[in-house]
């Protein structure tokens, strides 16, 4: 099973370092809320569309990330057309659509491991406040590895119950899954301890 939304391509957007993309997105995300001029917003949307086309991503994948919100956008437009002024709705939808497109662009063009590395480096200045970046990236990588494993555990329990004629309502599924998961966690912790992992190591 492959996790992650990254799409490998040769493009200037893919080549940008992860932290530049993340910082750029953060700046765009904040600044867009101070802009209500529709002409500027449309122009910014144009720039974002050009960036997306530069990345040469399959349209289908970009669309898949946006599809869920189309109805929300339609709702905002209708609500404001009826209650306030249709332009208010257009400005709101433009802002959201632009940020969403930009976020999708970053997500689809950045490798998961690069993103985790960028986060670890970004957290380094917080060391003096007791944040341990190495601990955080260990937790992130561990969780990513565990997701397919836990899905398997859930399926195991489902199959075992189906074999006994239980049609798995949530509650009978949850308890055995939780106990298996807790046991797994204890085993993992023992394994780390046995290998002298030091949680407080710098």
């Amino acid at each position: 099973m492959t996790l992650g939304l990254f799409v490998p391509r040769e493009s200037p957007i893919h080549a940008l370092p992860a932290h530049i993309k993340l910082i750029g997105m953060a700046i765009a995300g904040i600044s867009v809320f101070f802009i209500s001029n529709i002409v500027i917003l449309v122009a910014m949307m144009g720039v974002v569309m050009i960036l997306v086309s530069l990345a040469r991503l399959p349209r289908r994948l970009v669309w898949a990330q946006l599809r869920a919100l189309v109805w929300v956008f339609a709702g905002i437009l209708i609500l404001h057309a009826l209650l306030t002024h249709w332009l208010v709705g257009v400005v709101l939808v433009l802002r959201f659509a632009m940020l969403l497109l930009l976020a999708t662009l970053v997500t689809l063009t950045t490798k998961l491991s690069d993103m985790v590395d960028a986060i670890e480096r970004g957290l380094t200045p917080l060391k003096r406040f007791g944040v341990r970046p190495a601990q955080i990236s260990l937790m992130i990588s561990m969780a990513i590895r565990l997701i397919p494993m836990l899905l398997e555990q859930i399926r195991d329990v489902q199959e075992a119950q189906r074999a006994r004629g239980v049609d798995t309502p949530m509650i009978t599924l949850l308890v055995p899954v939780l106990i298996r998961v807790l046991r797994l966690a204890d085993c993992l912790a023992d394994a780390l301890d046995a290998r002298c992992y030091d949680a407080d190591e710098e």
Partner: protein, 180 residues
């Protein structure tokens, strides 16, 4: 945090992700399908306690942010936080923290009534208290309209509160992590 805490946080973040990947359960008497993901919020708080539960949810949100499509419905990436329903997501860690905090102070951790009450406060109260104003501000509609819009999810959430409470009490009896 010791090794065990780190592992518990990682394992629960992964569990919440796995719950979100399960197909949603359609219930005939509720208009919206019920997803198992917010169950994970309540379970993390109830079983891990305030600090570890809150951290597990923060880690889960970090995984969503770096682009894993693990939100119910297969969504992921930074975009989800910026949308109108971003507040409900950002409320997850706070909700888990509150539920854990209540459980830590509870005299009887295996009491079903108390477990339901704590999950109601954290899993519904806190999440809607943050999610609805966010929704109202993001879409510039009135608070009342936003609350009405969010109300369709309440019946499903109440069912999840009861399920989470029963599961917590049962697990707490067999495999207690929160010790006094």
């Amino acid at each position: 945090m010791n090794t065990r805490d780190i592992v518990y946080v990682a394992v629960f973040a992964a569990l919440i992700a796995a719950l979100g990947l399960l197909p949603p359960i359609p219930l005939s008497f509720i208009p919206v399908p019920v997803t198992a993901q917010s169950l994970g919020v309540m379970l993390a708080g109830s079983l891990l306690g305030s600090k570890r539960g809150g951290l597990a949810l923060l880690l889960f949100l970090a995984l969503v942010a770096v682009g894993l499509p693990i939100l119910a419905g297969g969504r992921g990436g930074f975009g989800v936080f910026l949308g109108p329903s971003g507040g409900f997501l950002l409320a997850f860690p706070i909700a888990a923290f509150v539920i854990g905090w209540l459980f830590e102070r509870s005299p009887r951790r295996t009491n079903l009534g108390l477990a339901i009450l704590f999950n109601l406060i954290g899993g519904i109260g806190v999440i809607y208290l943050i999610g609805i104003p966010w929704l109202a501000i993001a879409t510039q509609i009135s608070l009342a309209d936003a609350a009405v819009g969010a109300a369709v999810f309440i019946p499903g959430d109440v069912i999840k509160v009861v399920i989470a409470a029963i599961a917590t009490v049962t697990v707490q009896k067999t495999y207690p992590i929160l010790r006094t």
